[in-house]
């Protein structure tokens, strides 16, 4: 083995599967509270009691301090763009109808960043540092999708 012409040899294939049926459990209490806040146009985060860092979306363990986070804070809706990408094709490789701008944004008063879709701006006009604001759905159901996307403030 190892010779160039042998490397190209095709031997037959047999199938195999990863067919375990998982029954994963998750602690979603924090996300539920965050989603509920969105219904009232509130952006909620959690604050580490020790290092005071604020996380949005909320998390419940601070890795740096190894403590459980129970304190909640409400943030203003304004956010700053930290990094972004413009997707031209889907995960499947298909070309998208129109380019999709996704930003990493930081809410005012938060120490963490989150991902957000950005609209009403041309890809070539996007700049790091621009201020963004959420566009809310008219009928909010306490779902993550209650924020439709973000637009320049």
């Amino acid at each position: 083995m190892g010779e160039e012409k042998e490397l190209k040899l095709e031997t037959r294939s047999v199938k195999g599967y990863w067919d375990i049926q998982y029954r994963w459990r998750f602690n979603t209490a924090y996300l539920a509270k965050y989603a509920q806040g969105l219904k009232d146009k509130k952006i909620l985060g959690t604050r580490c009691p020790k290092c005071q860092r604020v996380f949005v979306p909320p998390t419940y363990i601070c890795g740096r301090c190894l403590v459980e986070i129970k304190d909640w804070v409400e943030l203003k809706g304004e956010a700053e763009l930290i990094a972004y990408t413009v997707a031209y094709s889907a995960i499947t490789g298909e070309e998208l109808k129109e380019p999709n701008i996704i930003g990493m944004i930081k809410f005012e008063g938060a120490d963490s960043w989150s991902l957000a879709q950005i609209k009403e701006i041309k890809p070539e006009e996007v700049r790091i540092g621009i201020k963004l604001k959420p566009v809310w759905k008219e009928e909010r159901k306490g779902q993550l999708g209650d924020i439709k996307y973000f637009v320049p403030a």
Binding site: L31, A83, Y84, I91, S112, L115, Q117, I128
Partner: protein
């Protein structure tokens, strides 16, 4: 790097006497996109045979332990060291199996290092592989977040999740790329320049996958944009391949090898995910605090106080076109923001002052589980002067190898040297 209150960086604990460990043999399979002529165990065996053929003075029967690594969900074989053990002189030997995402290859090598450094063993084989043509890498990678993602679906898809569902692994890297370009001023030409450099280097390495001696910057720039700023030509291939290394104690290294490459610094560091489509992200994906820390610890161990002067060669994990520039800065090889300039000046070329990825790097070859080990293997070959056609012009006294993985959160660093550590 900003650290919170009360956060101190732990120095490496110092024991009394330490043991010197050296790389005395390296073997690899030829990496190709599809190796359908062999099965997984045979692919692994091929790398080990390559090692014993290239370094015939190492006796296979003297191997005491095997450290084995791969990302087993990509191929659907659970703990493949069990199956492969009988193909690699591993019968009745001590086995350790390590998996840490993209860094697996290097953390596996670190396992072999500690086997010997502990004083328990003297001759250890480290192996890593990936046979992506057997499996489904995209689906495998998606399984990093599928469970968490599904748990969130009761709250509906968020704006970010909808967005992040595009681009696969590139989707995350493109934020890092964009952020890095913003911080350093790297341009589209720099990204392409890096790809051209490395794939031309790969043309000199028969074990590499994408070997393109005539690639031009225009060729790269003309590939389709996947996710700004990354184009198709800016991403690594998926390869089948395996890598094997033999590590030895000082006594055996001198017995079995004329010019061993000494392992003088090993370190790794984990943070929380720095790209996470589901939850909050705490740190800049381009900042890579884990890399800075791991490098600091590894240099300290190696007694290197100024990597800019003392490191002669580097192999870094450049899965995407911006990463070689970024990592070389984070590893302290250049000042922050100087990566693009160094690339432009040809400093990192095979005949430059600080050649990086003469093997062609990850952008030319990526069999995920073994990629990080190949970085160390290539550094070792340069020090041992066994790299063949891609041996760099300058003499390599100290080299640094780097691996990266997880959700942009694990970094491992290995420093090799032509002389053992003074103990």
């Amino acid at each position: 790097m900003k650290l919170g209150k009360g956060q101190k960086i732990l120095p490496q604990a110092r024991g009394g006497k330490m043991r010197n460990v050296a790389v005395i043999g390296v073997g690899m399979t030829k990496h190709r996109s599809k190796r359908r002529d062999v099965n997984i165990a045979e692919l692994v065996a091929e790398a080990v045979f390559d090692l014993f053929e290239r370094f015939p003075q190492i006796p296979p029967q003297e191997i005491e332990a095997v450290c084995f690594g791969c990302m087993h969900t990509f191929e659907g074989v659970n703990q493949p060291e069990l199956w492969s053990g009988g193909y690699i002189a591993g019968d009745m030997k001590s086995f350790l199996r390590i998996a840490t995402g993209g860094t697996t290859g290097m953390t596996t090598l670190h396992g072999a290092y500690y086997y010997i450094a502990s004083g328990l063993y003297d001759l250890v084989l480290a192996i890593s592989y990936e046979k992506q043509s057997d499996g489904n890498t995209q689906l495998g990678l998606a399984h990093i977040v599928i469970p968490e993602g599904m748990s969130m679906m009761q709250f509906g898809p968020s704006t970010g999740m909808r967005g992040a569902a595009t681009g696969g692994s590139t989707g995350g890297a493109s934020f890092q790329a964009q952020r890095y370009c913003y911080l350093s001023g790297a341009t589209e030409e720099h990204l392409a320049m890096h790809v051209v450099k490395n794939r031309r280097n790969a043309a000199k390495n028969p074990y590499a996958h994408l070997r393109m001696p005539d690639l031009t910057i225009e060729d790269v720039i003309n590939t389709p944009m996947i996710s700004y700023p990354l184009r198709y030509g800016h991403t690594c291939p998926t390869s089948d391949g395996a890598c094997a290394m033999v590590l030895a104690s000082e006594e055996l290294a001198k017995k079995y090898c004329d010019k061993p490459a000494w392992v003088v610094g090993v370190a790794s560091c984990a943070t929380d995910p720095t790209f996470n489509p589901l939850g909050p992200v705490y740190t800049d994906p381009a900042e890579q605090i884990a890399c800075k820390l791991a490098a600091k610890w590894a240099y300290e161990q190696a007694g290197i106080s100024d990597p800019k002067k003392e490191i002669d060669y580097a192999e870094v994990y450049d899965a995407f076109a911006h990463q070689e520039m970024m990592w070389s800065e984070r590893l302290g090889l250049f000042d922050e923001g100087k990566g693009p300039e160094m690339l432009e000046k040809g400093v990192t070329q095979m005949d430059g002052e600080l050649p990086i990825n003469a093997s062609g790097g990850v952008i030319s070859t990526n069999a995920i589980g073994c990629t990080a080990m190949v970085r160390v293997a290539e550094c070792a070959l340069q020090i041992m002067e066994q790299a063949g056609e891609h041996q760099v012009s300058k003499r390599v006294k100290n080299a640094v190898a780097h691996g990266w993985g997880g959700l942009f959160q694990f970094v491992s660093v290995t420093v090799l040297s032509e002389s053992p550590k003074k103990s």
